[in-house]
């Protein structure tokens, strides 16, 4: 363990011009490795050169020392519990981090709040209820990575940095939907216990594997579809812009989750059953979203243009979106190497209209070309 405390003797020598300079003369580094910026600037990919670009499959130390630096013996053990690269890595994580930083937006500045129109009371209520649910569910996608970030070894710093962007993205989503609920005069609506049960499942996950599958792949996949539906159903250009900007962020998180699971399973296929069991439980709980009035009815009312119209049209539009949502989720699972088509745990009534659910040989090509 390095001696703590100020080295006053060194200070005296330095005052006399007797510098140490071992950091200059003896540090083991790749002198001469020069990263060149690409077309958008100096990216993480651009600096993944020489030994600096080599991410170890298992981190040799548990320190905050930058990967590739000359680490002094005796650095303290930070107690990281995630020390295997495959536990957090994805092949697109460098690209996604850069994209996230580049595409940040402001819920204060980038939404044309002054153009928010006066809406009929039922439409405003529906929009506010939907905003309440989204403001509620989005923050768990900040809490979960935040809970795990400090446990991830610093050698996988690019993955940590990407998760930091996700924390910021989700804070902004929570912010923008809270602002939307308050901007139109309707205020916040109801928060339901059944929705919170799924959020608790993510937050209480016993491993990053479990939580990431539940959140990045299942939860955020569903919310991505919900954002796309929100853009379709939005009563004005203000909400449309909100939903499009949120869609962009959410799609990055889903892209990370899908490719992370793929990376994980390619290196240890024996984990497939574990991931299946996480998603079994997650699907059972998330199915409540499809049967919770506070989610289903605002969507139906926005789709129909009012309560009366919604009562006449019932769930016609919502059914199209439900099928789309489930199909996209199953395609991502399959792309990650986890075929859920024969195992999905959503109730039969919610699977009506979803293609390629049986485990017959004819379904092998289902993901060859996706729509």
């Amino acid at each position: 363990m390095a001696t703590l405390g100020a080295d006053l003797a060194y200070l005296e020598r330095a005052k006399k011009g007797e510098f140490d300079l071992t950091w200059l003369n003896e540090t083991r580094s790749e002198w001469g490795v020069r990263a060149k910026p690409s077309r958008v600037g100096l990216t993480l990919r651009d600096i993944s050169i020489g030994s600096y670009g080599e991410v170890p499959d298992r981190a040799p130390l548990r320190t905050m020392a930058p990967r590739g630096s000359d680490v002094e013996a005796g650095v303290p053990d930070m107690g990281y519990t995630i020390n295997e690269k495959s536990e957090v890595w994805s092949d697109n994580v460098l690209e996604l981090y850069e994209e996230a930083v580049s595409r940040q937006w402001s819920a204060t500045r980038d939404i044309p709040w002054t153009e928010l129109p006066e809406l009929p009371a039922d439409i405003e209520h529906a929009m506010c209820q939907l905003s309440t649910v989204l403001s509620e569910v989005e923050m768990v996608a900040a809490d979960f990575p935040a809970k795990w970030l400090w446990r991830i070894n610093h050698d996988f710093v690019e993955a940590k940095m990407f998760l930091c962007t996700q924390v910021m993205d989700e804070a902004r989503h929570t912010e923008v939907f809270r602002k939307r609920a308050l901007a139109g005069g309707g205020g916040l609506g109801r928060a339901r216990a059944v929705v919170e049960q799924f959020l608790k499942l993510i937050l209480d996950a016993e491993s990053y594997d479990e939580g990431s599958a539940l959140m990045h792949l299942l939860g955020e996949g569903v919310v991505l579809s919900l954002f796309r539906a929100g853009e379709l159903l939005a009563p004005s250009a203000v909400e449309k812009r909100i939903f499009r900007l949120c869609t962009q962020d959410e799609a990055r998180h889903v892209a990370y989750g899908t490719m992370h699971l793929r990376y994980r399973l390619e290196r240890d296929p024996s984990l497939a059953e574990d991931f299946h069991s996480y998603l079994d439980r997650g699907e059972e709980l998330i199915s409540v979203l499809f049967t919770t009035p506070e989610v289903v009815e605002p969507t139906a009312i926005l789709a129909a243009g009012g309560v009366k119209q919604a009562e006449e049209l019932a769930l016609g539009a919502a059914d199209i979106l439900r099928v789309r949502m489930i199909e996209e989720y199953l395609q991502r699972c399959e792309h990650a190497g986890l075929d859920r088509r024969g195992r999905i745990r959503l109730p039969e009534a919610l699977l009506e209209g979803v293609a390629h659910l049986s485990r017959g040989a004819g379904d092998q090509g289902a993901a060859d070309h996706v729509a």
Binding site: R39, V40, N92, E95, E98, E99, S102, R103, Q104, D110, L224, R228, A229, E231, L232, A234, P235, S236, A237, K240, R241, F243, R244, L245, T247, Q248, E250, A251, R252, V254, A255, T258, M259, I320, L321, R324, E328, Q331, R332, E334, H335, A367, D368, H369, V370, A371
Partner: protein
């Protein structure tokens, strides 16, 4: 092929109206659309994009034509009309009847931007009248990652003046 860069003011300043009258659909029309987008989109505010998107249009006789747009960093460029999709290697292909495309662009020109029923997302979410297809879900999801940039590209049709398909036959009964 028109290549427009946010960092090349000389090209950005090219007058769009010089392409006035470009027929829709055509490579020239998409060149004009991209040129208009590069004048109107705040690319550095929106952030960079990496996407190869093909727009495929089927006419009443069943004939299909496709046009490519490449988003690369802060640049958007038109690949013009594509002789074959595979050599363009699109991340995603957006397909639909020519009449649906016309209706969308007519709507954008009429309103200055797509109205609620004619945004790119609204027209594609149910696979009709436009559908997004891709070789795999990750490449399809790229379309969602750049949703606002794509919408602003399409909305730029309102700035293409006579190049926009306002004079094209309108779909009836829509």
């Amino acid at each position: 092929m028109s290549r427009i860069s946010a960092g090349e003011p000389a090209i950005r300043a090219r007058p769009i109206m010089s392409l006035e009258g470009a027929p829709f659909p055509s490579g020239e029309w998409f060149d004009a659309l991209v040129a208009s987008a590069c004048q109107s989109i705040e690319q550095e505010r929106l952030g960079f994009s990496e996407l190869r998107l093909a727009f495929q249009m089927t006419d009443e006789g069943g004939g299909a034509r496709a046009f490519g747009v490449v988003f690369e960093g802060y640049d958007i460029s038109s690949a013009g009309e594509l002789s074959e999709l595979s050599s363009f290697d699109p991340d995603a292909v957006v397909t639909g009847d020519l009449s649906a495309w016309r209706e969308m662009f007519d709507n954008i020109v009429a309103h200055g931007r797509a109205d609620g029923a004619h945004t790119f997302n609204a027209l594609t979410i149910a696979d009709a009248p436009l559908a997004i297809t891709a070789a795999d879900p990750l490449r399809r999801d790229r379309v969602f990652r750049f949703a606002e940039t794509i919408q602003q590209l399409l909305d730029a049709a309102s700035g293409t003046g006579g190049a926009a398909p306002v004079a094209a036959p309108r779909r009836t009964g829509a």
